[in-house]
Amino acid sequence: MTATDFLSVLPLTILVAWACVLTIADLFIGRKLWTAVLAGLGLATALVVAVLTGGETRVGFNGMVSADGFAVFVSVLLLASGMVAVGLLYGYSRRMGFERGEIYTLLLFSMGGMVLMAYAADLIAVFLALELFSIPLYILAGIARPRSESEESALKYFLIGAFSSAIMVYGIALVYAATGATALSGIVAALGSPAFNVTLFSVGGGLVLVGFGFKVGAVPFHMWIPDVYQGAPSAVTAFMAVGAKAAGFAALLRVFVTAFSTRFDVMPELTTVIWWMSALTMIVGNVLAVSQKNIKRLLAYSSISHAGFILMAFTAYGQESVAADSVASALFYLLAFAVTSYGVWAIVMSLEQVEDGDDGMRKGLNLDDYAGLGQRHPALALAMTIFMLSFIGLPPTLGFAGKLYLFRTAIAGGFYSLAVIGVLTSLISAYYYLKIVVIMYMVDGEPQVHKARMLGWTVGVSAVGTVVLTIFASPLFAWAAGSVLELFR
């Protein structure tokens, strides 16, 4: 382990060191605003470094990490979303009365794990990253204690997380038994060797997929998402929905496209498995979202369904000609989803009240609380409409561009029936997203809106970005497509 190793993953090094220092520094900081600012500064530094050092591919720690275009794309996405999360958390935690300095250090540690997910090129590193990003998130989910829903959320998240980690680590062990390697390149190299054991490898690969399935919320491993999303403080949920999902997918994409690819004619049945996972995720996520009354639960199911759409394109990952697109389209969609999601969550936080409603949850989280928003707060309602259109995948929004890329990949891969399931479930999703628009514009009401600068900015930037980035989507497409090339060298 030398200095070059640390330099090869400089953004990560900065992030973890910054988190450690901030943990101690926070003890001496009275106004938590400064902790938040420092955390944001740390993320910004890491972001700038990630962009500046992004040009060249480096491998560090004996191949445990690989700083390539893919890692840069994902870490830029993650770090930017971390910065938004810091801003949202600051205002939200003050307002809801659980302001603490630890929030930001936990966030930084979690970010460290997520960024490592993007870099990890070895199953051990993947597992390490998974734990590093998950454990602070368990705590963050419960940070609003003694509120029971927050504690419940943290406990559920923790139990399911521990369960899925155990499955994944067992899978890694089996893969190691089958190939004698945990590095992705080592696994590929071992595939043809005489000692290679197909059965162990298949079971191991399957268990790793299950582990990732939990993290990204794919059906049938999705049950925890609605409860955890609903119970966790909204700002934390927003971060989970964007960050944890992107990090989970990043590792899933890299691990499967390099080590477990059906290109190698080992485990051809994986394509079928992912096909069904994708189809079920799209169907279950969208169908169950229809009957939701609580906006956080609705968004939870919607986020499940979006995972299904990404998996739809990923089903084609084993085909030589489409593999690059299947990863690139997933990356692009994660970006589109992040931009839109933060806007939506900022609106959710604007309408969320400090007081409790009859059900013991905070007021302002039911769909009915959005009635009259179109009349009373036209700008907010317009932004929400844009976000809903983006989630449905209608032009001219980023969600449309993203879905288009996913569908193109699925069709190029020849998965026509999966694509048809995809569009039909999109149609179902149009129903529940439009329901929100209907309530906002076509039902009278007096919505309570909390105005805060950070929320306003997040909504505004997300809304403008959702539309404008679509019209100028070329560079984004090019970036996503270019970043994955090194995975296939």
């Binding site: 697109d325 009349q375 209608l394 001219p396 329901k435 076509m442 070329s474």
Partner: protein
């Protein structure tokens, strides 16, 4: 033609939208005049396009085709163009929009600003649909029109507006997302989304053509609407505000029929030939079904709505005759239907504003109190049922002529029998239209509430008269209209001919 013109006519309504954003909600008449002014300028631009249009040229004119998204395997262009197939529809759109806006002067009092913004956005989307020559760009405009229309129905509609708005949205989206998959397939296989290139490449195997044809047809047939996919239409029409109904019937439905001419027939000629008899039968069922159901209605607006199903059946029958008369008649009938049904919806809206009911039983003998209104309605009614000398006759006659001589219809069944059944629809149209007229205007003036109804005011007359002018013009001298489209239609049918000769037939 100046290539900037098409971009200008498409996006000029956006200028109006921006101006509207800066006018306060309370200044209603400023909002109305701005919207009207914008739509009139848009209309003026489209007239300039008409003047510069070379009607002898069968190809696209005023073409802009600049690269838009050309990375990562995408080859998307910002491509607009106009030819004989689309010019009348563009004109119809820009012509009906100011009329519709004028009709809202007293009808829309609530949230005028939002209404006008949505209306102009809708105009932009509709013009874009008719001009886009890149499948991707077309899809964007196509889906975009859903959003403003959804709000127009959902906010300013009748009592069941929320239901109608969502039904409209989901129904139309269901078809168009299937089309999206087909578009993506074409883009991947053809390496481009640019329509002229795709048509020139051709060479899609027959069995795949059928699937692609069906995917595109899913989007268009719902929009038309063809029987049995029409059930969203009565709800949307009845609940929409008058101006919304006018645009819905006048233009939005034409987007479906236009889609068949612009995309289905030239892109998948073999499939079109093969499926023509099926489409013809569905069209005739639509004609008869729409007519019969119209007759059973008690609500005037519903009657007019179902009559659209019948009239659009004629359009489809003409288009899938796949010969010059049929397609020309089909396109002209699109315009005719836009004029006549647009006018009918306006007239229904006027009586609704006075009486707040549309039940036919609530009226009777209106001719005595509202003579101007009665005469205008009579002309429009006669036009709609196809009286010789008025526009409807020219369109329907040409269509029937085309269908009767159709080679394609004779492949699966007898074109003569099919045309015979369709002609029955003309008689049925007379039945339900005259029935409606009789219920409203003739008989004794026996309802207390109707005694003191005011006749049309100047603004209302101004909204109807331009439509009447064209109703007579097309009816008496349709040649200029046919001349505009003949070369483009000729090119289309010539291409079909080649396929028919080269292929199995």
């Amino acid at each position: 033609m100046n290539p900037l013109l098409l971009t200008l006519v498409t996006f000029f309504p956006l200028v109006g939208v921006v101006v509207l954003l800066f006018i306060p909600q309370e200044r209603k008449s400023a909002l109305r005049w701005t919207a009207l002014g914008t739509s009139l300028v848009t209309f003026a631009i489209s007239i300039v396009i008409l003047i510069q249009f070379n009607s002898a040229d069968p190809d696209l004119q005023g073409v802009v085709a600049v690269p838009w998204i050309q990375v990562a395997g995408w080859n998307i262009r910002y491509a607009l163009g106009i030819d004989g197939l689309s010019i009348l529809l563009v004109l119809l759109t820009t012509f009906l929009t100011p009329i519709s806006i004028l009709s809202t002067w007293e009808a829309i009092e609530d949230r005028v600003k939002d209404f006008m913004i949505f209306f102009l956005l809708l105009e932009m989307g509709m013009v874009g649909v008719f001009l886009a020559q890149d499948l991707f760009l077309f899809y964007i405009f196509w889906e975009f029109t859903l959003v403003p229309m959804y709000f127009l129905i959902g906010i300013w509609g009748g009592s069941r507006r929320r239901y109608a708005a969502i039904k409209f949205f989901l129904y139309t989206m269901a078809g168009s997302i299937l089309m999206l998959l087909a578009i993506l397939w074409l883009g991947i296989e053809g390496g481009t989304f640019y329509l002229p290139d795709l048509i020139a490449q051709g060479g899609i195997p027959g069995d795949i053509q059928i699937w692609l044809f069906l995917a595109f047809a899913a989007a268009f047939a719902i929009k038309v609407p063809m029987w049995p996919l029409h059930s969203w239409l009565p709800d949307a029409h009845v609940e929409a505000p008058t101006a919304g109904s006018v645009i819905l019937a006048g233009v939005l439905l034409k987007m479906g029929t236009y889609g068949f001419v612009r995309f289905n027939i030239p892109l998948f000629p073999e499939a079109a030939m093969q499926l023509a008899p099926t489409m013809g039968v569905l069209a005739v069922i639509g004609i008869l079904y729409g007519a019969v159901v119209s007759y059973a209605q008690k609500d005037v607006k519903k009657l007019v709505a179902y009559s659209s199903v019948s009239h659009l059946g004629f359009v489809m029958l003409g288009l899938f005759a796949l010969n010059p008369q049929g397609i020309q008649g089909g396109i002209l009938q699109m315009v005719n239907h836009g004029l006549s049904t647009g006018a009918l919806f306006l007239l229904v809206g006027m009586i609704y504003e006075r009486r707040h009911t549309r039940e036919m039983d609530a009226f009777g003998g209106l001719w005595k109190v509202m003579p101007v209104y009665a005469v205008m309605t009579l002309i429009v009614t006669l036009s709609s049922m196809g009286l010789p000398g008025l526009n409807g006759f020219v369109g329907e006659f040409t269509i029937l002529l085309g269908a009767f001589g159709s080679y394609a219809y004779n492949l699966g069944l007898s074109a003569a029998i099919l045309t015979g059944f369709a002609a029955l629809g003309v008689i049925l149209a007379a039945v339900y239209m005259l029935y409606m007229f009789q219920k409203l205007f003739l008989g004794p003036l026996d309802k207390e509430e109707n005694m003191n109804l005011k006749d049309l005011n100047l603004r209302e007359i101004v909204t109807i008269v331009p439509l009447l002018v064209f109703i007579f013009w097309i009816g008496l001298y349709p040649k200029p209209f046919f001349d505009l489209m003949a070369p483009a239609v000729g090119k289309l049918t010539a291409a079909l001919q080649t396929v028919a000769v080269a292929g199995l037939w």
